[in-house]
């Protein structure tokens, strides 16, 4: 028995592995399921209505839903963002935050800092596009309909 334990176990394991299922997840044919609080793209509520498509080419893809009660002058998200990815732009006379996903580091500090919960998180992670402008999230100008939510 002593002699048997001096042989490296990899010889037998290698043969047995030929007949076992591989450990690979065959992405993109099989997509992994992420936990629901994974830190992916922010400010996206995929199932929310009254949102505009920003042009990533996906039909029910990511969109912006900024509630009308956002106090655009508190600017806490702009102040706290470590990557300086949020800036306030003027949309239809109102000032709203615009998030640039080419600068964002997905730390979700803005989700924590916003005192009114206007920025929420989602689990959408397939952000690769060929057009850099598609990564700049312009806020939704239609704030009236969302007031009721």
């Amino acid at each position: 028995m002593v002699k048997k334990s001096r042989i490296s176990p990899i010889f037998k394991r290698a043969v047995s592995h030929i007949f076992t299922k591989p450990a690979t997840t065959k992405y993109p044919f099989v997509k992994p399921i992420l936990p629901e609080d994974a830190r992916c793209k922010t400010v996206y509520e995929i199932k929310s209505c009254n949102v505009i498509d920003i042009g990533t080419g996906l039909k029910d893809g990511p969109t912006v839903d900024v509630r009308s009660i956002v106090g655009s002058n508190c600017r806490v998200c702009v102040r706290d963002c470590p990557a300086a990815a949020i800036e306030i732009v003027e949309v239809e006379g109102k000032k709203r935050p615009q998030i640039r996903f080419d600068k964002c580091i997905f730390c979700h500090q803005c989700v924590e800092s916003c005192p009114r919960g206007a920025i929420t998180s989602s689990i959408f992670y397939e952000l690769a596009t060929t057009d850099k402008c598609a990564l700049i999230q312009k806020p939704n100008p239609n704030t009236k309909e969302t007031k009721s939510q």
């Binding site: 990899i10 010889f11 290698a14 043969v15 592995h17 030929i18 076992t20 591989p22 450990a23 690979t24 065959k26």
Partner: protein, 332 residues
């Protein structure tokens, strides 16, 4: 008089096209087996189960830019990969694949030594290719290739003579057909020689654990550093043909060549089938050894050759001669 049968045999079957297809197929098997041992999927997208992946890699390399460095020795640099590939395929043509060799003959006495010499020349051309590229990594890499294959050629020749002693001739076709005639492949008569031959073949083909010329951690690309485009495609193809050639040699010398039971119909179909199956079996063994071990250092490779393998080869030869002269005539 143009002999269409001969041209067909050289170009299509069992000549150039067949050898190329067998090479690509064995490359796919190697990659799949290595991947499965490592618990992952191998190629899986190009063609069903990824079987067209080696062909796709070859075609991709052909479309890349072909650069020749300014200081390289142009003639050797440009033509060495292609010439090495041609010599390897030519050496392959002497092996009996479907009962007879590609040239429809059963070879000539001494052709075992000739094709081993061809393989050495092809390896030497690869060394020259790396040397001519005038890159420090290429120079060191090709020097290591030279040291390794020249060193291991000596035990290779010695061990390859073992079946020749048992069969009593230096003609590959006779060695192979003798095993079919007596139904005793030489792996049974001289198993020590089989093991040593497989190990020496690993070193000749520069596979793990004798992988030093390829070790990226030290040498970037070894002798392939400066090659791009079509030249790199042919270098890789030459390596793959060498692997299949080595396996085919093992099959001819120890496993009975293409000869095996014929059940119905023309015999050459069955001979080709047995040949392919046996080559795949040897490729599997070789790839298994490659995957489960680490890589030796260059000084360990060289000391292993001169201190262990060469005395072992001599001992094996002496043992075989003794057995053939005194024991086997009594038993068989």
């Amino acid at each position: 008089m143009i002999d269409f049968t001969l041209i067909f045999r050289i170009l299509v079957f069992p000549g150039f096209t067949f050898i190329l297809l067998l090479t690509l197929f064995c490359d796919w098997i190697e990659r799949k087996i290595e991947a499965r041992i490592q618990n992952r999927v191998g190629p899986m997208v190009a063609g069903p189960a990824g079987i067209l992946q080696p062909l796709a890699d070859f075609i991709k390399l052909l479309t890349k830019e072909d650069i020749t460095p300014r200081d390289a020795k142009k003639t050797i640099f440009k033509f060495a990969p292609l010439v090495a590939f041609t010599i390897m395929v030519f050496a392959f043509c002497f092996l009996p694949i479907d009962g007879t060799s590609v040239f429809s003959t059963s070879g000539f006495s001494g052709d075992l030594i000739v094709i081993l010499a061809f393989a050495t020349v092809a390896n030497f051309l690869l060394f020259l290719a790396g040397w001519a590229s005038c890159n420090p990594y290429g120079t060191i890499g090709s020097a290591r290739v030279l040291t390794q294959f020249l060193g291991y050629d000596i035990p290779l020749f010695l061990i390859a003579l073992t079946p020749a002693f048992i069969a009593g001739s230096v003609q590959i076709a006779s060695i192979a057909s003798l095993q079919a005639g007596t139904f005793l492949p030489f792996i049974v008569l001289a198993p020590w020689a089989f093991v040593l031959f497989v190990i020496t073949m690993q070193a000749e083909l520069e596979k793990d654990p004798f992988d030093v010329p390829h070790s990226e951690s030290e040498l970037v690309g070894g002798l392939e550093t400066e090659f791009t485009g079509a030249k790199l495609a042919f270098l890789h193809l030459t390596r793959d043909v060498q692997v299949v050639f080595g396996s085919a040699l093992v099959v001819e010398l120890f496993l009975g060549g293409p000869y095996g039971p014929v059940f119905f119909g023309p015999s050459w179909i069955w001979y080709t089938l047995w040949f392919v199956l046996k080559v795949i079996a040897v490729v599997l063994i070789s790839e298994y050894i490659t995957t489960v071990v680490a890589r030796f250092r260059i000084d360990q490779v060289l000391s292993g050759n001169w201190r262990i393998l060469l005395p072992a080869a001599l001992l094996s030869l002496m043992l075989t001669v003794a057995l053939v002269t005194w024991v086997y005539p009594l038993v068989i």
